[in-house]
Symmetry: none
Subunit: 133 residues, 4 copies
């Protein structure tokens, strides 16, 4: 992950949010889950910094999209009880993998502020810029 790409990812999410009629925050993190770039659209919720960053962190930490993680953490789900002050376990976080063997997770994008479907669409618009490094 690098800043130039992270900025383009943020822009792609914001553009998608305009299309969706949503106001979102976008966070891009590196392989360690640490923030590289963040943007919050004017008028979007103040929870965005924590939630968008949390979704991106969670996508790195569990090496799966937070949309895929969501059904696992409901009561009776395999990962019910998963907890931690940076976990956000509903759709909008997508891990980014390198193209090498093992498909190592090297970062993630997280979006929050719209409906879950909007957040996912905005995160996918960002992830589409990633080509495996």
């Amino acid at each position: 992950m690098n800043l130039e790409l992270a900025l383009r990812m943020c822009e792609a999410s914001v553009k998608q949010a305009w299309r969706e009629g949503a106001l979102v925050s976008v966070a891009v993190v590196d392989a360690g889950g640490h923030l590289v770039a963040f943007q919050r659209m004017d008028g979007s919720e103040i929870a965005g910094p924590a939630l968008a960053s949390g979704k991106a962190y969670t996508a790195v930490a569990h090496r799966m999209s937070t949309a895929d993680l969501a059904p696992l953490v409901v009561p009776g789900g395999e990962l019910y009880g998963l907890a931690g002050d940076r976990y956000v376990c509903f759709g909008g976080g997508i891990p980014l993998r390198d193209s090498g063997e093992g498909r190592r997770v090297v970062g993630a994008v997280g979006v929050s502020g719209g409906t879950v479907a909007q957040d996912v669409a905005c995160a996918e618009a960002a992830a589409a810029l990633w080509d495996g490094g």
Copy 2:
């Protein structure tokens, strides 16, 4: 619990993980829930330090395996509402008991990174080395 045994337990879990085709983190804690040894396999998720240690802590704290604890914390379960920043309440944490009367819990092993079934299998491989002190 002692470091020499804790290291052998970590190795046993890692070996089992290879057999399972999983990438895991393993934590061994003492009777106070404090880390004695920890190992994270190359390429395994960064959530491992918190989750493996959390499962081991939880197994000591509640004197039961986290797999047995899981159904108790669902809505309507006896311990629903259990919360704390070190609790992880799904399978993969196993308490270790001495052989004396009372079967005192003297430590635990916690594994995270695979499926819950894989985590449990890896934790059991470690616990099998324990003979009651």
Copy 3:
């Protein structure tokens, strides 16, 4: 504060960092201390997200630059004992005020990663874009 201006502020700080030969993180927050934009230069420290955001938050929270706050928090200083998980009390955070009566604080910029003098110079480069709204 708005995203477009926050982005230009981040860019101004990054440009100044190149001039200084420093690698920094830049955070811009709104009147509530909540992140609007964040950028971390490639190769800069992972402490940046917490420290740059913390300096910006602190500058809003205390309505003064963190450089001015620093001498107040030493032993014997007026604010010695100031503590909180988001406070960062050394130079690099600068509050932004509107031009109306009362000079209300409406946001702040925070920079971290270089020496304190470099961080301050980078934050000032960003604050220079602010004209009181």
Copy 4:
């Protein structure tokens, strides 16, 4: 950083601790500050998991040894006020750098449990195994 090397680093620190007559904990973290391996000697303090890991994290986060950081955080020092729940700012944490241009920090070792001088000696014994990747 990889597990095999991290384990050898832990062993080197433990061996040095025997020579020093100290009982220590050793933590090795990756470029994101996340634990790779940890070992606590029998009889050493229960603060070890937090302190050794914290020193290693801090050495990565600030890209300098915690011994070099210590004088900067005293009252009147440039970084006085540095705070965060994972920071430990006295000697015993040493960053590990790759040999490429930029000398990127790719991990760190942290030791705690002895005197600061002993902790530093034990951390240096581990760091000596690192050859720049």
